[in-house]
């Protein structure tokens, strides 16, 4: 198995066949994380740089574990330690990194398109670990893997994504990946948090929480960021929780085998009630475990081929 691409900048343009290859590889690598000695020599001698311009705990940890379990050497740079704060441009920083011959750069950035800019200027492989409000392809892939594990398939499923679609890179990658794999995506949220002409992303828009939940095989809740309050995108967390939060009463009307997902970190009591987050419907922690597997798969497929 291999991928005919150097970078993973987004799920846009990634074929169903490529996604299947990544998910299958992730399945086969999952077992490594269950071993007492969680390490294989696959990427020995390879260097992976984790270049995080924006704070991240779980994504970075997940990527670092993935690289380490494959025996790659890893270096971490964050905005506070990098020269970004000293006025260096992104391209200069990247060229300096490139001069140290990394095999792959994992990049998180607060601005949409930043990894695309990097990819135009340096030759090494780049994985987008989240760029602004654009894409978060590894999150999209781990969500696909989680759904496939629980439901046995991706084709023909109905997935509802609820919350702040506008500012969510998780939603964009999720929508693209799900559409590619044959699922039908519905979105719901306050109109102020739906991007303009959201249907152009290939989704339908539900008119109510009940409508969004009714037919869904999978309900994906998105984190509501409290800073959106200061932009007056909704009036209060109270009303948000009441109208757009997922509670037990919604699940009572849902399909019996409905699955609830959340990319984390969750705001308990805002977009998701504690009972829902901790209940049997929830696969939130499976998502986290699958994150490591998907990232291992990508590292292997992008830079591990000749080393094998």
């Amino acid at each position: 198995m291999s991928l005919a691409r150097r970078h993973l900048l987004g799920l846009e343009g990634v074929s169903a066949q490529e996604i299947t290859t990544i998910l299958d590889t992730a399945e086969s690598l999952k077992e490594i994380s269950a071993r007492p000695i969680k390490k294989v020599p696959t990427l020995r001698g390879k260097t992976v740089v984790h270049f995080f311009y924006e704070a991240s705990t779980r994504t970075r940890t997940s990527f670092e574990l993935a690289a380490k379990r494959l025996s790659a050497d890893t270096v971490s740079l964050s905005a506070s330690t990098s020269s970004l704060t000293k006025g260096e441009t992104l391209i200069d920083t990247a060229k300096n990194l490139q001069a140290m011959s990394p095999d792959l750069i994992v990049m998180r950035h607060s601005m949409s398109g930043a990894p695309h800019l990097l990819a135009r200027h340096i030759p090494c492989s780049i994985i987008n670990a989240g760029d602004g409000t654009h894409e978060h392809p590894t999150q999209g892939l781990l969500d696909l893997l989680t759904i496939r594990q629980v439901k046995g398939r991706l084709d023909g499923l109905k997935v509802s994504i609820i919350g702040d679609i506008s500012h969510s890179r998780v939603a964009r990658s999720g929508i693209i990946g799900l559409n590619t794999m044959g699922s039908a995506v519905t979105v719901y949220g306050p109109n102020t948090l739906l991007p303009p002409q959201v249907q152009s992303l290939g989704v339908s828009v539900a008119g109510s929480m009940d409508e969004a939940i009714a037919e869904a095989d999978v309900v994906m809740m998105l984190r509501v960021q409290k800073e959106r309050l200061s932009d007056v995108l909704f009036p209060s967390l109270r009303e948000y929780a009441q109208r757009f939060g997922l509670g037990m009463r919604h699940l009572a009307q849902a399909k019996p085998d409905v699955v609830v997902m959340h990319p984390g970190p969750i705001n308990r009591g805002v977009e998701i009630s504690p009972q829902v987050a901790d209940g049997p419907w929830s696969v939130i922690l499976d998502q986290v475990a699958n994150g490591v597997a998907v990232r291992m798969a990508l590292l292997y497929l992008l830079i591990g081929q000749e080393a094998a």
Binding site: E12, T89, L90, I91, H109, M111, S112, G113, A114, H116, L117, D131, G132, T133, H134, E135, R169, R172, P195, P196, Q197, V198, S200, L201
Partner: protein, 432 residues
């Protein structure tokens, strides 16, 4: 550049929309003026330039140029900007006031004019600021700006938010014959946006600027034009809603005019592609439907002129994250070629293009030129309408290369540019 000897343009298509002239013949330039035109002319000692198959038009005039000097000389200077103008067929440019210091007083206006006269390759008509420092408060000394040589006032790029202040500005400027140029943008609606709001922005995860941010502001500015009776000119119109508003204002008899730019006629938001900062400008590239509406408005005369909004930026402002990159593109050296593309497509006729780039801008701001007339200034552009070339930003005379048209094949360009009887550009002698 040649000294100001006599020049004989032989056998070209003399095309002057302002006078209705359209016939093959010679044109003789002597002592900086058009000495004779039409038929076969002979002139002892004149430099003869064969123009058979070429179009001899009035020198092109650009209403909207950022020359960047004083203050941002690494992006453009009066010398490089007017050289770019000449290479693009322009003999005159109106320079926007957002320099550093801002052109908000006589000293800056005079400095620009002095440098342009001494070292420039095109006439420069400064446009003064409406508010000192473009800060949106108070009024500049417009009487003095007019006296010093400003041909209009604008707070381009930093539109006057306060409607009462803009009303005062329109009333006051009118007293000194100064048109008011409006960059119409409702800042509270466009704030934070980096490209046109639509499916492409949604796909790319970029914050959008709705077309309504422009439409609302144009409606306000047109209403104030009605209230004050001022001569108001709307800059860089980019969308269908703006076109409708302007058409209504003209039907109502207001003294308003409007321009658009070549990029709004030929590109759209989809061209941003994968975060191409050379397609980032303000107003942004709009939808394909808006582009059609702007094209139609130009063909039908709702829009009066084409101006480039030439906005040079260096790689320092453009090789950045899309959110961080500066708004603006260069246009002087591609405008004519891009407009000829519209002729080739049948959107406009060649006389229309010449009108939109010469007679119209001259009339709108009361500038000299814009016509081929015996005794008039010898500002002449010889156009090779059928001479395809590929845009290579590295060959620009502009100091900046931030063009969205790099690599595009254009059907024609300026073969010779003559400003005040002086050859400022000659394609067949480039590189020699």
């Amino acid at each position: 550049m040649s000294p100001r000897g006599d020049i004989l343009l032989k056998g070209g298509r003399l095309l002057c929309p302002a006078t209705g002239l359209d016939q093959t013949g010679d044109l003789l330039i002597s002592r900086g003026r058009i000495a004779a035109l039409g038929g076969k002319l002979a002139a002892e000692g004149a430099l003869a330039i064969p123009c058979a198959g070429l179009t001899v038009a009035p020198g092109l005039i650009d209403l909207h140029v950022h020359l960047r000097e004083p203050g941002h000389e690494y992006k453009e200077t009066i010398v490089s900007g007017t050289a770019a103008a000449a290479a693009g067929g322009f003999t005159a440019v109106c320079s926007m006031p957002n320099t550093k210091p801002v052109n908000d007083c006589r000293a800056v206006t005079e400095m620009i004019l002095e440098r342009a006269a001494k070292e420039g390759s095109a006439r420069v008509y400064p446009v003064g600021a409406i508010t000192p420092g473009l800060l949106g408060q108070g009024l500049t000394e417009m009487a003095e700006l007019a006296e010093a040589g400003c041909v209009a006032v604008t707070d381009d790029g930093r539109p006057v938010a306060d409607a009462r202040l803009l009303r005062r500005a329109m009333e006051y400027a009118t007293g000194f014959g100064l048109p008011v140029i409006c960059h119409s943008e409702e800042g509270s609606l466009s704030a934070g946006g980096v490209m046109h709001e639509g499916p492409t922005a949604t796909r790319l995860g970029l914050a959008g600027i709705p077309a309504e941010a422009e439409v609302i502001a144009i409606e306000r500015d047109l209403a104030l034009a009605g209230l004050t009776g001022a001569r108001v000119h709307i800059a860089h119109v980019s969308c269908a809603g703006s076109v409708r508003a302007i058409a209504r204002a003209k039907q109502a008899g207001l003294r308003v005019s409007a321009e658009t730019a070549p990029h709004y006629l030929t590109l759209c938001d989809q061209d941003v592609g994968e975060y191409d900062t050379h397609c980032k400008m303000n107003p942004p590239l709009r939808s394909a439907a808006d582009r059609e509406a702007v094209r139609r408005a130009l063909a039908e005369g709702v829009l009066d002129a084409v101006a480039t909004d030439h906005a040079p930026h260096s790689v320092l402002e453009k090789e950045l994250e899309f959110d961080q990159a500066a708004f603006g593109v260069v246009g002087l050296e591609t405008a004519l070629g891009v407009m000829l593309e519209l002729v080739a497509e049948g959107v406009l006729t060649l006389p229309q293009v010449v009108q939109l780039l010469s007679a119209a801008p001259a009339a709108l701001l009361g500038l000299p030129g814009g016509r081929l007339a015996k005794g008039g200034p010898a500002d002449v552009t010889v156009i090779a309408t059928d001479s395809p070339w590929v845009v290579e930003p590295g060959k620009f005379r502009s100091l900046s290369a931030n063009t969205p048209f790099a690599g595009r094949s254009l059907p024609g360009r300026a073969a010779v540019t003559i400003c005040g009887g002086r050859i400022t550009h000659r394609l067949d002698q480039e590189g020699s």
